[in-house]
Amino acid sequence: MPSVRFKMLERAPSQDAQQDGSVARPVAFRGAGFMPGGGRASGWIALALAIALWQLAGSAGWVNPLFLPAPSAIAVAIYKLAVSGALWQHVSASVVRIGSGWLIGTMAGVIVGFAIGLSTLARGVGITFISALFPIPKIALLPLLILWLGIGEEPKIATIALGVFFSTAISVYSGVDAVPRNLIRMAQSFNVPFHAIVIRVIWPGALPSILAGFRITASVALLLVVSAEMIGAQFGIGAFVLQAGNLMQTDQLLAGVVILSLFGLAVGKAINVLEARLLHWR
């Protein structure tokens, strides 16, 4: 008797109708959607189409070239700038400012962020100060910065460093806070000394959010270079953009903007590489 039952179960039931005459039908699939894939080409194609449309609108005279210069006009402006050699002067001046401002702001931010993440006193003081000072628009402080630091490179670097500092401090201390407590307890249970816990547990544990913070502060530094170069800069991409705006040279204005966004793309790529290197364990 049992063998008969096994046989019935083994037989594929779909071919023949059952005793009651009903025919087997497939269960309808209803799990589609809600899983956007990461198609790479689509983004670039969309960008190319947008630029093509933009160019068409300019060439066909649908828009006034003063209000929206065509991509070709922007390319020409960049080419002229490159040929005249001014481009490198602008770019190198800005790179120095962005680089040193970002470095100073990041180092200070990492130190303060760790202090806030590790010490009760620093946390109380630091969070209060950061909450109070972070939202101040740095441009509003420009006259003060000029009074304190003059109009040389110092106030320009300070503007960028200030902007970078607050974001970094916040991302570092939230990164420190996010290090799993059980890892710290584990290290303590093995009598690992404090400094070693900081270096070998908290630093690598906080690194993902520190690097995520870098992504933001790199953009902040690029944003602020325009404000920073409001202070008596003769060269620099920010100064170039400001001047083009003042002179209503919209093609040059957009050329500067394109260069800034290329900067942004390059920095983003660099951080991708850094993440892949340092966070391969994730």
Binding site: P143, I151, M230, I231, L247
Partner: protein
């Protein structure tokens, strides 16, 4: 269906009739202007009803910088703009989106507007007159601005090279004032309104007025080609403005002594109008009276010089001169 069509037709006719009727009432227009006494005739014409007398219904749109007025005129947000010449304005005009139709404020001897100011240290070290500015670090708001051009004129006058001067564009008047006070520049070109408090508090030293050194045509009335098509509107507007120009010149400018207008029974009503529109007390307005030609004339030769200078500096696109941006039909040249 027929009924509906008839109804629609009637409605359209009524609307058209209404439109015509309103056009007959008054010509509507918007003027973009700064709250500065260099636009005084506009305020007088508006306040005393000269526009209304000319059959115009004028709305004043206030801006806080010269450049946006030029942009707003180009884009049609305002019909007329009244402000200072800037490199940006010339670049717009060079593309044919703006035309100059009349003169406004000027730098002229005896009427202080923009001045040269030295930091205390630079003054102590021998920077005493505008001539000494050669080779110094000088703050201006922006490259290609009125301040920058004034400095260029000074360089021409005293035969020094502008390239020898370190021009520091600080983007705003407050930044330039801060740099001067903080001794990080040797000198700055500032309008009297910004500089007065600085000099009075001992934060900087006065060197001279641009008007005394190098008179030039500072401001103008301009309009977009679309506005210019409406000849009646332009003619009426300029007529009302000249009426105000004349009154401003004969009453206020005539009373100016040592750079200050007198406050008397004749000048007071006009000064109060200017005070109202510029949000300044009358006592400050009197020391801040820009010269304006009584006939609304424009110094065309100087405009040509400005364009050439800015083109030479690379701030204005090459390939056009003053006559390309001036609407000769309306402009009365000096």
């Amino acid at each position: 269906m027929m009924k509906f069509a008839r109804l629609a037709l009637a409605g359209l006719l009524a609307m058209a009739a209404g439109g015509v009727a309103r056009a007959d009432d008054a010509l509507k227009a918007k003027i973009g202007v700064l709250r500065l006494s260099s636009s005084a005739p506009v305020f007088i014409a508006q306040d005393k009803g000269y526009f209304r007398d000319a059959g115009l219904d004028i709305e004043l749109k206030f801006f806080d910088a010269a450049q946006p007025i030029a942009v707003a005129t180009t884009s049609g947000d305002v019909d007329f703009g009244i402000t200072a010449f800037t490199a940006g304005l010339y670049n717009l005009a060079g593309k044919g989106t703006l035309k100059v139709i009349g003169g406004m404020s000027r730098e002229k001897a005896g009427y202080p507007l923009i001045g040269y100011f030295a930091s205390n240290n630079a003054y102590a070290a021998g920077l005493k007159t505008p001539k000494d500015l050669a080779g110094k670090r000088i703050a201006v708001t922006q490259v290609g601005s009125s301040f920058h051009y004034s400095l260029g004129l000074l360089a021409d006058k005293y035969g020094f090279k502008l390239a020898d001067v370190k021009v520091m564009p600080l983007q705003s008047l407050s930044n330039a004032a801060a740099a001067l006070k903080g001794e990080t520049v040797d000198a700055a070109l500032l309008p009297i309104s910004t500089a007065r408090a600085l000099v009075d508090s001992g934060g900087a030293k006065f060197l001279g007025w641009v008007g005394d050194e190098t008179p030039w045509q500072l401001g103008a009335v301009f309009a977009s080609p679309k506005t210019l098509a409406n000849k009646a509107l332009v003619t009426k507007l300029l007529g009302a403005l000249v009426r105000a120009d004349r009154e401003y010149h004969d009453v206020i400018l005539a009373s100016v002594k040592d750079g200050k207008a007198e406050i008397n029974d004749k000048t007071k009503p006009l000064l109060e109008i200017i005070a109202k529109y510029t949000n300044l007390p009358v006592e400050q307005v009197v020391g801040n009276c820009a010269y304006i030609d009584p006939d609304g004339k424009l110094d065309v030769k100087n405009v040509d010089n400005q364009i050439a200078w800015l083109q030479e500096q690379g701030f204005v696109d090459k390939g056009f001169a003053a006559d390309a941006i001036i609407e000769k039909e309306y402009v009365k040249a000096d």
